[in-house]
Subunit: 303 residues, 2 copies
């Protein structure tokens, strides 16, 4: 069952207390693909400029990611520069140059149109709707968004949400989207707009999942060394949707397990710069960390 | 097995977006006792002024709390006034009048000295050491502290920590105490100073427990209505130590379960003002919410 992701492909330059990168491989669709591909083959739709290093794309291809939907356009690639605070808890965006991404019009190649699992990365909700027009009959549509779209494109975002099964966003976005300070009330409100489930990412605090009659909470993996938080959310999404695509199920139990796989992928991703950790990650390593999550969260029930 | 708590008994006046209280029953030892007493009989040592309403103390007595260690002194009771922000995530202390609590010298009644479980509330670490001199041979000593003592009494605090089995503090205090921004590194450092376990409270994000070879993470209970966060940390501690005293065990499994009982008590506590929810809480209600925690955190393992 095909797993399609549509989103940004970027050149990231980040400074953390532990070092820096320049024009490193980045972007939501990239982190998603690299994490998801360990669990299920991924198809990417995105755009790069003619300055985008072929070696970067080869790293994705080496993981079996299908790049047939990556357009190469005349112009500059999307570039993002940021600096993280000493404790990595906040970051300042130093520069955003959209380049060819500014005019991105997702074109889904014919062979991707019957994808059964679709992840709409953080792009204009109008474009997200446009992607959904091009795919045939997905079994699951998951999507991300951000404060910018909540503020500028609220109406189209609501249209997108009607067609989305699972919305994956962070807690501040959840509150802003619903206009409600209590996270769980905010979540209930958003669920009433369409999505069957809401997966709320809380960074170092873990994840909360809300559905009609089920709620799930998982801590983040306790890391003593975080090198670069960039892409944690998208690698979470890659692990999450990748697991669901792999098992082909959408039960409550599968969604809970998928959240742990997502958390596992996010935890590996931040251990090194850019995609350096995910690129070489093996399935046994993922299983090992999944089991650690089981230990981490286990407690005995009442008799 | 006796369960002794030493700490503040106060008159709290708080303003939240949902209402306010004036001179309501409060203080660390009070929240601890009221939560702990549902699980195990509690003995309190503390001080009140001659203005402290007898009716307030009767609420504790009605729960079976032994007040033989509560001294009534000439002077004003400890009073604390605070206002919470609209989303309850921050609060401003408007007034702190220590009154008779300023000269508090814990005197443990003879009949409390063989307590097997001791909780040292957030008081001067010198006084915490003094309490430990007065008790015979406790099986478990747990303690709390705060930024004030970390900054003013670091040396005595380190002395106390050498004698403490479990330190229960919040995440900002953990980082400040260790002088380390990564929570888990900070935790490791503190463990090397004496405590066998560290229970880190993260408010709405839940709890992390660190021990030598075990780590546990639990989310907070997802509350759609929080009325008054005052005393959440102390009612957590009451449920935590109360459960351990009740089962008489200190195994890893017992500590994990105790954290859930603590989280249950904290979640009930914030549903109403002051002690209003804990006062009437029944054991079946506690069991019910414990089971909800089990549901909330459950996911299937790998084959």
């Amino acid at each position: 069952m095909g797993l399609l992701v549509v989103g940004s492909i970027a050149l990231d330059s980040v400074v953390t207390p532990f070092g820096e990168t320049a024009d490193a491989l980045g972007g939501a669709a990239v982190f998603f693909s690299m994490a998801g591909a360990v669990l299920h083959p991924v198809q990417v739709v995105g755009v790069v400029g003619n300055d985008f290093p072929e070696t970067h794309l080869k790293k994705l291809a080496a993981r079996g990611v299908d790049l047939a939907g990556v357009e190469r356009k005349q112009g500059e690639s999307f570039r993002w520069k940021a600096r993280y605070s000493y404790d990595l808890n906040s970051r300042e965006t130093l520069e955003t140059r959209l380049g060819v991404f500014a005019e991105f019009q997702p074109r889904i190649p014919d062979k991707f149109r019957d994808a059964k699992f679709v992840f709409l990365g953080n792009i204009d909700p109008e474009l997200q709707l446009n992607v959904l027009d091009q795919v045939k009959q997905p079994k699951l549509v998951a999507c991300d968004t951000m404060n910018y779209w909540i503020e500028k494109e609220f109406k189209s975002l609501l249209e997108t949400l009607k067609l989305v099964d699972i919305l994956i966003i962070n807690d501040a976005e959840t509150r802003e989207l619903a206009g409600e300070s209590n996270l769980y009330r905010a979540g209930r409100k958003i669920l009433s707009w369409g999505p069957r489930a809401l997966v709320i990412k809380r960074g170092e605090y873990g994840v909360v999942m809300m559905k009609d009659r089920s709620m799930f909470g998982a801590p983040a993996y306790p890391l003593e060394d975080v090198f670069d938080p960039t892409g944690a959310g998208d690698s979470f999404a890659g692990g999450f949707v990748g697991y669901l695509a792999g098992c082909g199920e959408l039960s409550d139990a599968a969604i809970r397990k998928a959240i742990i796989f997502g958390s596992v992928m996010a935890s590996f991703n931040v251990e090194k710069f850019s995609l350096d950790r995910l690129r070489n990650l093996t399935f046994p390593e993922i299983q090992g960390r999944f089991r650690e999550f089981k230990q981490l969260t286990h407690f005995e029930g009442l008799e």
